[in-house]
């Protein structure tokens, strides 16, 4: 006997988690199905972490509207959900006349979109704002910001879960069938029964649209690779530095500080057919070094600590290949569905505005009863690393596990690791601990702490060593015991 839900959301990226959180404001039994073992495995966890200003998107597009709305409300959102965020500002730098023309065009477009504070600045001012930035002049966007996209997705999910939403991992949707006034959603392992389906499947949003009977959406994967630089490089950079957009409005490789103090170099952009191919390549890394050095003067191999790749899910015109706007729709031919297709950058900034639109579309079809117990506030676990010595001492007096530093590079304590192992979403891999604590994310990349974390997962979750996973299903860490 399958369970019965009011709303079933496919995909636990930032958009799916935002929709779950906004649905939780109403009396709805909501569930999120995710094919991976944790939230933000796909592009929500593989991007630059920008809170975009909204000047690169066509005026009146959904991208422009949602981005500007999301940007303006984010101080409040970050406080409510207790996620690290800094309104850092951003400079889009240029070198020649073509760049100048491009920047002026985007400034005008940004102003038409309602972006505040855009300003053309000369080299002197650019140097004052960020001495490490390349460029002869720039457009300055003071309201652009940086956040931790994974922490934000986790926060949305945890807040949704605290308000009643369910999260199921390792549930890859294989088919959807409409029976009477319900949908039967089949995964590789289970069957779910729901009144509404919300498609937040990212790269697979075109496929899920098809399952719901809406054919014709084409999603093209625009892959981009990144280099992560040591926090030592982070001391040089004050704000994101982007090159002036090309004719198509696309940005080449940029340099962006993270809220944690690292620097990201990337992404570049090329088309991939394989939506699971998150590999990095020698030629693209070399390209990032070359192009990134134009933006940031401290791209040195000494500072490299990691690489990763993301794939932006762009909806394109199948004939012309032109990149199209976000889709957020409720269509007659697929009753009781909300279809979110082609959500790519600025999807992180737009996640909550899109989620509210999704809920509004649902409210047009049926009356929603407010959930009077909804609490929008979510508290993050306290980070030992961010406390004063006095506060650290006070924490240790309350809980001695705060006195056990497990991750030396990022100063993450046993108490924080234990909290992450027992997180509210119920998922537990080495990666899920990493994403919740920053353990293993420093310059030694887990050389000191990974074994301690693996052992804690084994003990706390009562797993066999062969059941400990790095991130995905099948990513086992150990083949067994050495002895006995």
């Amino acid at each position: 006997m399958e369970e019965q839900f009011d709303v079933l959301i496919i995909g636990a990226g930032v958009v799916g988690c935002a929709v779950a959180r906004e649905m939780a404001r109403y009396q709805l039994k909501t569930v999120v199905l995710e094919k991976e073992m944790d939230v933000a495995y796909g592009n929500s966890g593989r991007n630059t972490g920008m809170l975009h200003g909204g000047f690169t998107y066509q005026t009146n597009s959904l991208k422009a509207k949602c981005c500007v709305e999301g940007n303006q409300e984010f101080d409040h959102v970050a406080r409510e959900l207790d996620v690290p965020f800094r309104r850092s500002g951003k400079v889009v730098v240029g070198f020649d006349e073509r760049d100048m023309a491009s920047l002026k065009r985007y400034k005008a477009q940004g102003e038409a979109n309602g972006v505040r504070g855009l300003e053309m600045i000369d080299k002197k001012r650019l140097h004052e704002l960020d001495p490490s930035a390349g460029g002869e002049f720039a457009m300055y966007s003071p309201n652009s910001g940086i956040m931790d996209p994974i922490a934000y997705t986790i926060a949305l999910a945890e807040n949704a879960a605290a308000n009643g939403a369910g999260f199921f991992f390792d549930e890859c949707v294989t088919g959807i069938e409409r029976i009477g006034d319900h949908y039967i959603v089949k995964t590789k392992r289970d069957v779910f029964r729901t009144r509404w389906v919300v498609n937040c499947a990212g790269l697979y949003s075109g496929v899920v649209s098809g399952m719901l009977g809406m054919d014709g959406y084409v999603i093209r994967g625009f892959k981009g690779e990144y280099i992560v630089l040591d926090k030592k490089a982070g001391e040089f950079i004050h704000m994101p530095v982007y090159p002036a957009p090309n004719e198509k409005g696309g940005f080449a490789t940029h340099a962006v500080p993270t809220v944690d103090g690292n620097v990201l170099i990337g992404p570049d952009s090329y088309i991939t057919e394989d939506f699971e191919d998150f590999s990095v390549t020698r030629e693209h890394i070399n390209g990032l070094i070359k192009d990134g050095s134009k933006m940031f003067h401290h791209v040195r191999r000494d500072y490299f600590i990691r690489n990763f790749a993301g794939i932006r899910a762009k909806r394109v015109d199948p004939k012309t290949g032109e990149v199209l706007d976000f889709v957020c729709e409720a269509r007659e031919e697929a009753p009781n569905t909300i279809n979110l297709v082609g959500i790519e950058s600025p999807g992180l900034t737009s996640a909550l505005p899109l989620a509210r639109r999704a809920v509004r579309l649902m409210a047009e079809k049926e009356e929603l009863t407010p959930n009077l117990h909804f609490n929008p506030v979510r508290k993050a676990a306290k980070r030992f690393n961010a406390m004063s010595f006095q506060d650290q001492d006070a924490m240790i007096q309350k809980d001695p596990d705060y006195g056990q530093v497990v991750c030396r590079c990022e100063n993450v304590t046993k108490a924080e690791i234990l909290a992450a192992i027992h997180n509210p979403l119920g998922t537990c891999t080495v990666m899920s601990v990493k994403n919740r604590t920053r353990a293993t994310m420093g310059r030694c990349q887990g050389g000191y702490c990974e074994m301690r974390i693996a052992k804690m997962i084994e003990k706390e979750r009562k797993l066999k060593e062969t059941e400990i996973l790095y991130n995905r299903k099948g990513s086992y860490m150990f083949t067994g015991r050495v002895r006995g």
């Binding site: 890394i285 006095q390 056990q404 530093v405 030396r408 074994m451 060593e465 099948g474 150990f478 002895r483």
Partner: protein
Amino acid sequence: MTAEEKDVVIIGGGPAGLGAAVELYRKGIRNILIIEREKNLGGILRQCIHDGFGLNRFHQTLSGPEYAQRFIDQVEELHIPYLTNATVIHISADKTVMVASEKGILQYHARAIILAMGCRERTRGAISIPGTRPSGIYTAGVAQSYINLYNKMVGRKVVVLGSGDIGMIMARRLTLEGAEVKAVFEIQPYPSGLPRNIQQCLKDYDIPLFLNHTVTRIQGDSRLKAVTVAQVDDEMNPIPGTEKEYFCDTLILSVGLIPENELSLSAGVDLDSRTKGAVADENCQTNVEGVFAAGNVLHVHDLVDFVSAESERMADAVAQYIHNDSLEDCGLNIKTDRNIAYTVPQKISGKKDFVLSLRVKRPLKDCRINVTQNEKVKKTIKMRKALPANMIQLPIKKETLDSQTDLEVRVTC
């Protein structure tokens, strides 16, 4: 929070820290404290269960834990104070040391600090190995820890990248535990580990070593499935057409060690871009007065015996510093030619005997290493074979030096 006063705080309870503590005690410095982040003293030696330690020092071959125990026993016998399960989280130039422990944040103020934090392994990310990010990729030391300390088998079909000593030792260890080690690949035209390990860990077990090769692609979405290996040219770029695929579930990386100096930086210690350790003088003192360093935190050693010896020489200088409140100014630089990778110390006074440690940059045959001052050879050593894997040590007598001009180290072939 009030600071407890100490003559010397030693950060790290591995071979360097232990050696320094015992020697300080012998020189009459008793108000000392060793701070160790792990449950037990011993440092990385605890996981090095193979033998070969102590040949120089004790003239017998010991396992890592046995070697460490000799020092731990002395620390215990002499009642030298130490903290375990305690992590130093900050040190400052005024020699205040902040420690996180289960008792709370502890604060010490020291007259001298000894940096003995050892080193960490270079990672996949640092060398940007292309491909996907599956599980099954371990640095050699992490694999060694899993196998020897945590009783966890990391994999069954193994490829090793890098011919560092721990990589070769793990190739043997994994073979002994029933894994199939397919090959060791080294990007350089020469091995980076010691000749004895090439013989005892690879040749004795028929594990092939391919020089001028590197991993160009990692495959597998969940667990490692295969690696692509290619030959490299003189600039270390992969040569197209030489790619070969190796199916494996485990990749062991032994691609270099980096002195762990994050705390040193917080105290304002200057690092040498060649060693990645502190710029040190003949007393192992850094540019920050009263902050000293020895062992792998200063420069990566080939043998622990030399770490112990270095830490003892440093401890003698620290004892002198505590007694006299200062040490001789070291204004002379040691310059090197292009065949020398680095020297330690980098600075001397010219008024004290010292041991010059150095490594050559590439293998050299029938060469002579000359230490000169004012174009005069002050010390020379003839070497039939000089390998980057071997640390070369030259004791230099003060009588041969003047205290006015820089030293130079040059190789003639």
